[in-house]
Symmetry: C2
Subunit: 459 residues, 2 copies
Amino acid sequence: MAEEKINEIEEEEERNEALLALVHESKFRTLRQELSEMNEVDVATFIEELDPEKTVVVFRLLPKELASEVFACLELDKQQHIVSSITDKELTNIIEDLSVDDAVDMVEELPANIVKRVLQNATPETRSQINEFLKYPENSAGSIMTAEYIGLRKMMTIEEAFSYIRRHGVDKETIYTCYVMDNKRTLEGVVTVKDLLMNPYETLIEDVMDTHVIKAQTTEDREDVVDLFNKYGLSSLPVVDKENRLVGIVTFDDAIDVMEEEATEDFEKMAAITPSEKPYLKTGVIDMAKHRIPWLLILMISATLTGGILAKYEAAFAVLPVLVTFVPQLMDTGGNAGSQASTMIIRGMAVGDIELRDVLKVLWKELRVGLLCGLVLAVVNFVRILLFFPGQQLVGIVVVLSMCLTVIVAKMIGCLLPMAAQRVGIDPAIMASPLITTLVDAVSLTLYFEFATKFLHIA
Amino acid sequence: MAEEKINEIEEEEERNEALLALVHESKFRTLRQELSEMNEVDVATFIEELDPEKTVVVFRLLPKELASEVFACLELDKQQHIVSSITDKELTNIIEDLSVDDAVDMVEELPANIVKRVLQNATPETRSQINEFLKYPENSAGSIMTAEYIGLRKMMTIEEAFSYIRRHGVDKETIYTCYVMDNKRTLEGVVTVKDLLMNPYETLIEDVMDTHVIKAQTTEDREDVVDLFNKYGLSSLPVVDKENRLVGIVTFDDAIDVMEEEATEDFEKMAAITPSEKPYLKTGVIDMAKHRIPWLLILMISATLTGGILAKYEAAFAVLPVLVTFVPQLMDTGGNAGSQASTMIIRGMAVGDIELRDVLKVLWKELRVGLLCGLVLAVVNFVRILLFFPGQQLVGIVVVLSMCLTVIVAKMIGCLLPMAAQRVGIDPAIMASPLITTLVDAVSLTLYFEFATKFLHIA
């Protein structure tokens, strides 16, 4: 870890300890002053560390505006604790100050009795907006968008636009990209504050807006939304319904969160874990076991196939026990070679470097890479066998021949399975290391014992 | 894949085909018109698909401003081809229009003779700035920052600031966050355009600027920079030197790129591949093999340890060949259980959910999760053995006892190794599935055969 990073962590810890001391000494005025100058994320981090009985005391010290920003950054259990401890009026203030996306996230996760209280204390407009947003399917663009954007009309002048922004900008998620709509909310163009600043005051919005709008539909997958942010380096993206009416926007910070969540999901799936949404330390033991056992079971049962193959060739290793010595090496190498290929392909498809139509290019590349890897490993292994198992040249040939072929087959399986999964609409990340290892094991052992029985003349 | 995504891809292909038709029919005026209305990323995607001889023809059609934006989006080989084919004057235009970070990226990657030509055609100021930026270590904050930001003085009024932004904003990477410095370039605060818009014209910058600036040092690791973007949802981050003088900024789009690159690197390391920077389809076969062979070799050699263990117990499976049947199952399950844990820990540390000081919490959690997983697998496996291997209850007990212990040990190794690596400054991603599988194999086989010799009274 870099020195600067350690310094930053230490500074944060020192600051939190100083704040904690203020809490214990009940120096609430100083504490309020300190907290109100801090970033909402840092205040949230500090509140996360407090005991339940201090949480609400400290939370109530926050200035109104900061309070809802901090609230949005808190973990679910703290949010729940605060909602159950504050008055209806305080609750209303927070809900009305939250962005719709944060309010929706909270309503989706909190227990039903708390949700009821939250919705009862929202204004009818907010309540109906939350309910509207709750309808969008999980993992859709609609589920990550928010409603706090600046909408302009194309016949406004830049001067009018600025005065509109000044009046309505305070609570918006972003004011830097404004959305131009007609009176049916049909999206007609986007204009940035930069465009507004760089042109004379009397210019019409129509003349500076960009009508080639990069946008998403509410039902589109949130991964596709993230791809658009990546591809075009966007800071926000409008989301429209089927009639091209603007219903919300996604901002880059939410896109970054999704990006990170999706990468984590892929890491988990590729390690044979059913993805969970909670951070590691907040997940219970039973919950965690539930996410791990299914795949362990499936893979354990599939591995009996490999066991069956070994059993089938019992005669061979009864005659020549040294054969068994090379089994782990073959199995491990095959698994590793396969997961190298599958990881490259799965990640390549996830970031858009590889498309399904590239399948032949990929196969041809993996075939040659497999051949190269297989040959190098075979040569090194043959030398090793000559050195450590003198007189076993024939066995050596059987081992390295199987190894070379196993590596090539493993690379083929490793690239084909994820692409086949993508083709039929299964998440390619499932076709990762563990599943491929199990498959390649079966192939490598069959090859090995077939060669052994052929070349070593054991029945 | 969602319907909308497929539509988008089809639309892009159709548009590119139409543009290609214009190229072949030499309808350059129409082509120029079409291209100049497109997003630079889309133009670059189109140019990537062109034959070399058409590339420069089409590139020259682009309006000057768009040309350098498109140039920055092109892959290295296309950039190189264009640089070698255009005139000195055209080259100067492009270099002067590029952001420093894009120019530096290009200079770092292009062959020496091309770089020489690039630097010769840059103005002395640009040349010295590029040389300055080239000095920052790879993967540091300095290496991903750029110099195109708006710098303000604290005694300016908002009105003066706006007129400064209007005059100097065109070429800046972002104008929405402005940096307030004294005449020694010491960073004193930040102010957003939103702050400027929401306050009266005569207000002093000093009175609206935020002095609690979240910033990075030039030498800081770029991963830490990305963590800051993540944690605080930043749109840009100032980078300062040791004397707190502002030297550049990092914008969120570059942070997103780094985030994706770092995740890809982790995927590769965790699959025993030395990370490469080029996209899959642009990497040559030999290059790819070079990134895969070292770890395959290391792991193949380590797996001989497991082979040695098997050899040591030759006598046991000579007496009772059925023992070998369960070897693949044990090895695979141990490897999978271990990599589940290691993946959770490695990813948790990468996104900051898990810190080194959580090691005891993590161990205690994995111990219990391991016990749960181990017990469930053992029960299922025991039933399976009773059903398919009648009369082998004793072997069954040996198998499930080893399996249960293996799973627990695998979870322990899986969480300890990455944390130990982090502790001593090695990238935890190295301690992933393949290495852990090899280690756990040795443990599981030793356990298995020790139990077998004890309980089954062999050897």
